[in-house]
Symmetry: C2
Subunit: 768 residues, 2 copies
């Protein structure tokens, strides 16, 4: 069982950590007080609108903006021809306003700023663009072929030059050692984040040339850096860029990059000299905010007759779309389950990202992990079946263990994989329910994910400035980003615990690059771990300062003092105590007085992946197991979820209610990915870009999720916690596919597992 | 001449200090972007309105709110009878909603919160109050008499129990030594601040019971403390109060206290559960925001036949109005010129603050100093005349000098009084213009004021949090309050100078008790001195940290390195240099990296006045001289200002444009006080509460002000600067009264010096 270490708990029982604390922003949200980008209004603000491409691939022959410019209320009409070139994206291959040619339907051809959103919408319709259509390519494998239309002529190929290759051990040797080998193909569709708050921003220039951008971004410091490019293009190099983060109405990775619309808004603000707001409609959100990249995976694994994995060999092709955002880097995270889910020595992995004239993709919760895990974990069942071993036993046999170093050189610290497997087996009544067939079946799937940040950038740090006032109230300026996951609440709990105050005494402020210290952004499930440690260490510094002073004042050794219940107490002497606020006023109101203010920058002890894509890039790893019991209607192909269990090693559940929220929310998104979600494109054009045609899970669709929280008290995490924002999504699809196999003996290798696919598979099975 | 010390300048010439920098908030103000309290809107916000007393003094027999409550859109109607008692003011003698009786026309009898301001205004009219009128008293001397109506029965007397008494040396001895003695009476009227932004605030309770108040207060931390009283009354003790300072549309001391309207707004927010905004109309601003207290002064001074002052003896009576705000403490500042303007050993001062049924007073620019200086400096001329000495020579003879310790134990450091006297004499052509009579004359007046804070509270400190980002941009979180005086701009200059960056690189943030460290508020001309030192020392800490790292990186001794032009340079080696932003990124992006963040709390080396009202309560003192040439129309009594000179010892002019702004603005307010302003009350009721009847100087009235900036480079001030917010107002009235004497031989001892008073004095002179 998991080792329980409590290195940071010194004053007895935890009071705030482990409590079910409702999210601090919940009341504001339900009362309509939260200010989303949609609600922010600045004096003299204009409204921006983009003219999108009419073709998936075409030459731009001419753009005539005369009519639009004449419309009363129009303040600026911009195109690639009357603005300096700014290129965005991971490899800067995306000009924010297109000249010469368009490469996808979401290409930005022109934009307008006007007095009202209505006038702006009217004005873009008045812009005349003459195109000359070009042949397009919409399938990544076709795009790889000789003679395929080139999306970016200057690149010479549609295949991206990115180093997605990993070799560990010797796969050929592993094949030789295998008694059983399975090779299969899996495909995963284009899905999108479906944030309830559509994308948008406001840009405003100040008289001194400095720029402020209001944005619900997940990465305000990286966005700040990106926006510097616009400043350079506008001849404003050296000026200051401030990013103010408005409340995020859903992120899930979609706001992990900057996009042309933000730069267009900056350009419009620059040319009009007024603040400009640009917010997507729901229709725009569907086709012009990037989703999760479609993947085709070829995977083979082998094992000995005892069931030990001997090798894993994976080839992938990703549809990169027309431009390159963070989506193209998801293979770096796919490597994680490929290298480190179960003990397997010999690994080969090659992935190609291929340009097409489809709309492009970005990061999405799990960041490639769900795609890779679907292939691996579906095949584990196939392989176990071939080897004649119970799939649960097979997993136990190959499970990861605390303290191991994986072939990719991940240093696994705490690891609750065994506990998760045992818990799910029990809750699912695995032994009783399994192998009955006839439309009912059970399936499981394990997962690994980073839980201690992920060094994808030179710094993976988060800053905290913490101050206490005369009343014992605490302000935490954190650079972590709460996008709904509840990190603010958890930071308040951590600080309240450490300083012995109430959670309501702690105000967590996160919003403004001018205010807070740098941060790498909300991604890789890192906010609680990295931001939490940053807040914890800041609180500890403040505590040291307070106890140091208290020791002198109360004439007690500092080591004997502790903070609790808004008081300072002595362990040695029950008579000695003092109210914290009184103590803080004593620190303040004296000669050379001060208020207690500290700052902390916590950067986890990790390294970036080296050229071989190896190295310990996270300070902790989380493990989990999904388990599901399904009943499949053999007539309609409809899948009913009878039971859903998720067991997650979270290190420590700082706020069990928030953990459950993440587990249930992740499963909801995972179930959508597994069963119904797919952004359908016809020659690059989105066909189902609305909530009527693109189905996500709603309350009636949602099964009860049974959450099992496994605590392994990670040595490096704040109070032992690990990040768990993404993993609850990762295991759904393979668990369901495995349950369907158990129910009917059909193997669905293409997501989503729709009734149509079930019926087709059943018919194919009958036919064979 | 003044000693010029430059202890803090080490890297050669100053680049940002001494520059004429336009105020950083100027563009936002002229472009209409500044958010005053009037502009702030919160979701679901209600509007509050107060019902004022109908009498100056009356029993409240009954209040019937039934009709008001029934008006659609009304959300709450509160009175002293359905709310807990909260008392405000310097001695907490002012219940925010009056029960049993009213004591002035501005008494708050009831209040309403409604969906719109119009409904709220309508609703207060529907409240029926039955009063029983009581005899009132409106003259402080009558109020002191036996049998006068008592304003607060429980106090037993209308005279406040405040210790306004100071004795230095032996006045009787001083009288004996005097060859010439003059005794006179002076009176000063009720005037008001005339802020262009009327008073107002917004209160909002959060779901956890914490309170946020938006307010254009000058004292957000002291206001925060006051608002805790409301929390206690509401059973919310221990909850957090946050004060967010909105842009201040004029302060001048009027926003140095909290007032019933703010607590009423808090009560309305509490009972409705919604944010409530309450903003005064212009009419309310005139009668319901407190002004400067009327004073009656009896003063006598004596001198030897050589012209050396031998004693000063002053009695004052202040009309305190119905309640006690900071106005009642202005005698503590009146003591400053009485004890320390000119060298005089033997001093006696007694002041009485007396309750009347007039509306009450608070702090106003100069804080009692203008009243005392009018009496002293008018009489200096009278005394000099009696002694047969030129008034300028008389002043030179008795002038204060650097390094002296005054009878009140003020430690005068830098002192440019001599330079100011010399400069004004020359600019005014004193010798040529003086003594000509026949309607033209010249007059001068000296002044002293605190220039290094004033310890009226246990702490006189200001906090700064300063951070630098990856681009060399600086954020300064200051707790100083910029209410239009330009302190933000000066803080940016100080920090830019010290860190070798551009002023546009520095963002000064001051607004929120949750964000910044404690501060004693914007008063006593302290923001540049105390806030400036706080910012300077913070910047110096940051510089140390940066140079420390740079020394290691550039392999140069730290002492040889300096920051300038966004670069680090070496004095030893011209080849060595590095861009600041690059250096900061090197500090950040490495193992154990960090961003540079520092905090500072600067509390000046001063003491509170002791029981004898003595002690060095400011870290520096400013001196100045006003000089004026007038032409008086002997028919109409109209005074034309032919020339106006002000010479001020400012320590160092950090921003000469801002200094001139203060000098000219102060003179404008001083001229209004001298010549035209008076809030006229009839039995406690304001008669001229609007800008048609209450005259302030407008552009056509304004003479050209010739400013002479004397720099004495104070050892303790930031880059040598001293505070000069208030003193430019102090010397106007006596300089004009003295010029009128020189012009016509009439002595006006009652402000304002209106044409009517001139004509009456001329007639009296003729008659005698």
């Amino acid at each position: 069982m998991a080792k329980v270490l409590e290195p940071q708990i010194k004053d007895g029982q935890l009071l705030k950590i482990g409590q079910r604390v409702p999210k601090l922003d919940a009341w504001d949200k339900v009362q309509g007080r939260t200010q989303y980008i949609h609600d922010v209004k600045l004096p003299r603000m204009l409204y921006g609108k983009i003219l999108w491409s009419k073709y998936a691939h075409a030459k731009i022959v001419s753009i005539d903006t005369t009519k639009a410019e004449k419309l009363p209320g129009v303040r600026a009409v911009i195109t690639g021809y009357n603005t300096p070139e700014i290129r965005v994206g991971f490899i800067k291959d995306n000009p924010v306003l297109k000249k010469d040619k368009v490469r996808q339907y979401r290409d930005e051809v022109a934009a307008v700023a006007a007095d009202t959103a209505e006038i702006a919408a009217e004005a873009v319709k008045l812009i005349d663009v003459v195109y000359e259509e070009l042949p397009g390519v919409f399938d990544p494998e076709e795009a790889m072929q000789e003679g395929a239309p080139l999306i970016h002529e200057e690149k010479g190929s549609n295949v991206l030059k990115l180093p997605w290759k990993m070799l560990c051990g010797d796969v050929e040797e592993g094949r030789k050692k295998a008694d059983f080998i399975v090779e299969e193909n899996y495909t995963l569709p284009f899905v999108t984040h479906c944030c309830l708050g559509t994308s948008g921003c406001i840009a405003q220039f100040h008289a001194n040339g400095n720029l402020t951008v209001y944005s619900p971004t997940q990465i305000r410091y990286l966005a700040q850096k990106d926006f510097q490019d616009a400043m350079k293009a506008l001849g404003l190099k050296g000026k200051r860029v401030q990013v103010i983060q408005t409340a995020i109405g859903g992120g899930f990775g979609s706001k992990l990059d900057t996009y042309p619309f933000e730069f267009i808004t900056i350009l419009l603000a620059h040319y009009t000299g007024r603040p400009v707001k640009l917010v997507y409609t729901r229709e725009e959100e569907f086709f012009a905010s990037p989703g999760r990249q479609p993947v085709r995976a070829k995977i083979s694994q082998g094992c000995t007759k005892e069931g030990k994995l001997t090798f894993r060999d994976v080839d992938m092709i990703l549809d990169n779309g027309a431009y390159t955002s963070w989506g193209a880097t998801t293979p770096s995270v796919m490597m994680m389950p490929i290298s480190s889910l179960y003990q397997v020595e010999n690994i080969r992995y090659v992935a190609k990202c291929v340009h097409t004239n489809n709309i492009y993709s970005t990061a999405m919760r799990g960041y490639g992990n769900p795609q890779a895990t679907f292939a691996i974990e579906s095949q584990i069942d196939t392989l176990a079946e071939k080897a004649g071993i119970d799939p649960w036993e097979f997993r136990m046999l190959n499970r990861n263990k605390p303290g191991e170093i994986t072939p990719q050189r991940f240093e696994i610290g705490s690891c609750g994989m065994e506990e998760c497997l045992v818990a799910v087996k029990e809750k699912l009544q695995w032994d009783e329910k399994r192998g009955k067939g006839n439309g009912r079946g059970v399936g499981i799937s394990s997962l690994i994910h980073v839980g201690g940040g992920a060094r994808i950038y030179k710094s993976d740090g988060t800053g905290t400035i913490l101050k206490l006032d005369d009343y014992g109230k605490v302000t935490v300026l954190t650079s972590a980003s709460d996008m709904g996951q509840g990190s603010d609440t958890v930071l308040a709990q951590i600080v309240a615990e450490e300083l012995g105050v109430e959670i309501e005494d702690v105000e967590v402020i996160m919003k403004d690059t001018n205010l807070e210290i740098w941060d790498a952004g909300a991604h890789a499930s890192r906010s609680t771990f990295v931001g939490g440690n940053s807040a914890l260490y800041a609180a500890r510094k403040a505590k040291e300062e307070i106890l140091e002073f208290a020791a002198g004042m109360l004439k007690e050794p500092k080591e004997s003092l502790y903070l609790r219940d808004r008081m300072v107490y002595s362990r040695n002497n029950a008579e000695v105590s003092m109210a914290l606020d009184k103590l803080l006023r004593a620190i303040h109101f004296r000669t050379n007085g001060r208020q207690v203010v500290v700052s902390e920058f916590y950067d986890p002890p990790t390294v970036m992946l080296d050229r071989e894509m190896k190295g310990n890039f996270s300070a902790a790893y989380t493990y989990g197991v999904h388990g599901v019991e399904v009943e499949v209607d053999q007539e309609t192909g409809h899948i009913k979820i009878l039971k859903y269990v998720i067991a997650m090693d979270v290190g420590r559940a700082l706020n069990p209610m928030a953990v459950e929220g993440q587990l249930e929310g992740g499963c909801a998104q995972g179930l959508g990915y597994s069963l119904m979600e797919e952004l359908q494109l016809d020659k690059g054009k989105v066909l189902n870009g609305n909530f009527l045609d693109y189905k996500i899970l709603t309350f009636p669709d949602m099964p009860n999720i049974e959450s099992v929280i496994v605590e392994t008290i990670d040595e490096k995490g704040p109070f032992g916690a690990k990040g768990i924002g993404e993993p609850p999504l990762v295991g759904s699809a393979p668990a369901i596919a495995n349950a369907v196999w158990d129910a009917l003996g059909i193997r669905i290798r293409d997501l989503p597992i729709t009734p149509e696919r079930i019926v087709a598979a059943l018919e194919a099975k009958k036919g064979s």
